[in-house]
Amino acid sequence: MLDKSYYQKVDEIINIHGKTKAALIPIMQDIQAEYKYLAPELLTYVAKEIGVTEAKAYSVATFYENFSFEQKGKYVIKVCDGTACHVRKSSTILSKLYEELGLSKDKHTTDDMMFTVETVSCLGACGLAPALTVNDEVHPAMTPEKVSTLVKELRGEANE
């Protein structure tokens, strides 16, 4: 059960975009921007408020890779696996991250809710390949060693 404050925030977001079916995607985007993820309860609530079926809202939310029903960690690391990054061995970057953080293809977020690791198809930073972002900050020309250092730094920063 989510706290009442979530629904108040969502009401604010709905008011900005209006109670129309067409507002579904912008509302979902704003909720995700606010909480880094789209809580299922909130999607159900939005669907009811703007008059689309829950199944339709779920349909739209699952169509776009960008929307996530899972709560994200403090640091969201997006590893680029576009063509340029892929040929420059982004897969070793990803496996190093998985190893360091104890994550896998099916487990995206650490239990302490610190890190979430995702892959993206292209960050548009092909000249910097292989690249990754930490909460939208770009880290270029990554190597497995640099990944270890980065994780250490982020952990240290969090502990301060």
């Binding site: 299922p40 159900t44 669907a47 079926t53 829950e54 199944a55 339709k56 809202a57 779920y58 349909s59 699952t62 169509f63 029903f69």
Partner: protein, 563 residues
């Protein structure tokens, strides 16, 4: 007149919205999975592709006919194209045809045969998903889904429910309720219209045939059947009997051959409903309370109203459905006999409807904690049982149903079609019980295929405003209008399925396009051919009210609303 050329022949264009309709008019049964004339056009299955004179290939369902157009429907290129589509569909489809509930009735199966796919070159590496058996009405098997979206559009556009939709994308796409919930956790009303349009067995009827055989084979059980009005017009479809013909006589014989102890007619329950509902309407008109009165015969409609418009719950008639009334009365009728003989009476209700399977489980349909209807089987399941026994349905002699619940008026028969309940109630409330009165009522606006009809009828001194709706999406719209004060009625009849029970979720749908008109004509013919047309003239009613019901109308014939 404007013309287009289809397969080298000139075909007139007469206002068709798409080329597909023109092609079918020209006598070519072009294959489709995702096209239904009553739904929006989706254009996903690509089976209806045609080739124009420049070699361009496009879907005929989503292209307007234009004068002078030249198209071909069966070129070598198109044949290969269709074959490949079917092969690809089959590549990710569960291919256990011999054990599939839809074996022999599957569009995918028959189209694979028609277009000549004899082998599938691709391996099915799709992840197998669990079946959804949570609903008492329908079963969802996602492994058999070909993603045509017919169920999604039917549920949203015709029924206004939208319990299921597409989720995910690309190779991971599925049709599912939100958050992969079970159907029972959604607003699904169990109408089964998704199953009607499903070309495979991805959505099928939840079958209860085994339970019925178990009861028949138990010597301590008195197995009693009741047959709904719409069943008799559809059951013959699979046995070579002309569409829309009344097979009640054969059905009674077949049920007796199968081992049923008593065979009754749900129409008798409908006659009781006419009496109870007319009384209720008269009372509410007098007091002016809880108007409009909504009919309660259709369980999918009742559930829809409860889910989405609970504020109208008091407006729904307190009457049980004809099925519910008759089952309670049958149980009462055999109560003493059962005690004497040490038997139990088991009521099997044969219905055109999947939602009836859920209705019998509702506590408000119980009598003192007793479930009155023990099991519901649909027309489709009954056909399967007749086949299991090997009865040659078209050859057997006709017999009459058992008394006292085997005789009913013509008014009861038309409960199976939209407008029928209203027509029956108007007949009952009319002081003039003549032929002329029957005709006058039949042309008063109660009949016809429109999904919304309104009329004003004179009951006594008063003008009664009536609305007749089929399709729950339209019913939802009506409730919105009533809520907003834009519309005002005294009596509203709603049936969830388009055109009523004759096209219910449990009915067979054979090839050909005249099923709707044949059943419509068939049901009105059955009414015309019944010697007693007015409920009040059914001689058995008085007997049953006097000797079985004995003043317990409230307990047996109305919903138990306190629990």
């Amino acid at each position: 007149m404007e013309y287009m050329t289809i397969d080298s022949r000139l075909v007139p264009i007469e206002g068709e919205k798409n080329i597909l309709a023109v092609i079918r008019k020209a006598g070519i049964d072009i294959p489709t999975f995702c096209y239904h004339s009553e739904l929006s056009i989706y254009g996903a299955c690509r089976m209806c592709v045609v080739e124009d004179d420049r070699g361009r290939i496009f879907a005929s369902c989503s292209e307007q006919p234009r004068p002078g157009m030249v198209i071909k429907t069966n070129t070598k290129k198109l044949q290969q194209y269709r074959k490949l589509i079917i092969e690809l569909l089959l590549s990710s489809h569960c291919r256990d045809c011999t054990t599939c509930t839809n074996n022999g009735m599957c569009d995918l199966q028959s189209l694979a045969y028609k277009v000549g796919v004899h082998a599938v070159r691709f391996l099915n590496n799709k992840e197998q998903l669990p079946l959804d058996m949570s609903s008492p009405c329908i079963v969802r098997d996602p492994n058999k889904c070909i993603l045509c979206g017919d169920c999604v559009r039917t549920c949203a556009e015709i029924q206004g429910v939208g319990a299921i939709d597409f989720a995910y994308r690309g190779s991971k796409m599925q049709v599912t309720p939100a958050f992969n919930k079970c159907l029972s956790e959604t607003d699904c009303v169990g109408c089964g219209q998704c199953r009607v349009v499903c070309p495979t067995a991805a959505i099928s009827i939840r079958t209860n045939v085994t339970e019925v055989w178990d009861a028949i084979n138990d010597p301590n059980v008195r197995v009693v059947a009741q047959v709904a009005p719409a069943v008799r017009l559809a059951v013959g479809d699979r046995f070579g009997i002309p569409k829309g013909e009344n097979s009640m006589g054969r059905l009674v014989t077949a049920l007796r051959m199968m081992g049923f102890d008593e065979v009754y007619d749900t129409n008798f329950g409908a006659d009781m409903t006419v009496i109870e509902e007319s009384t209720e309407l008269a009372k509410r008109l007098e007091s002016g309370e809880k108007l409009p009165l909504f009919t309660s015969c259709c369980p999918a409609w009742v559930k829809f109203l409860e889910n989405k418009y609970p504020e109208f719950a008091d407006n729904v008639s307190t009457c049980r459905s004809p099925q519910g009334m008759l089952s309670a009365t049958i149980k009462e009728y055999f109560k003493k006999k059962d005690e004497e003989e040490g038997k139990t009476t088991y009521v099997v209700s044969i219905m055109p409807c999947t939602a009836k399977k859920a209705e019998i489980l509702r506590p408000d349909n119980f009598t003192n904690g007793r479930q009155d209807t023990d099991i519901v089987i649909t027309t489709v399941e009954l056909i399967r049982m007749i086949r299991q026994v090997g009865i040659k349905f078209s050859e057997i002699a006709e017999e009459a149903a058992d008394m006292p619940f085997g005789y009913a008026s013509g008014s009861a028969t038309i409960f199976g079609i939209t407008g029928g309940v209203t027509e029956a109630v108007l007949r009952h409330l009319s002081d003039d019980k003549s032929h002329n009165s029957l005709n006058a009522i039949s042309i008063s606006g109660v009949r016809g295929n429109d999904n919304f009809k309104e009329l004003t009828a004179k009951v006594g001194e008063r003008d009664v405003k009536i609305a007749i709706v089929h399709g729950l999406a339209r019913a939802g719209q009506l409730l919105e209008d009533i809520k907003a004060g834009k519309a005002q009625y005294d009596f509203v009849e709603v049936m969830a399925c388009r055109r009523g029970c004759i096209l219910g979720g449990g009915q067979p749908y054979e090839e050909g396009h005249n099923t709707r008109s044949a059943r419509t004509e068939g049901i009105y013919k059955a009414d015309r051919m019944t010697p007693v047309r007015y409920t009040s003239e059914n001689p058995n009613l008085k007997l049953v009210y006097d000797e079985v019901i004995c003043g317990k109308e409230h307990e047996l014939l109305h919903r138990n609303l306190k629990n």
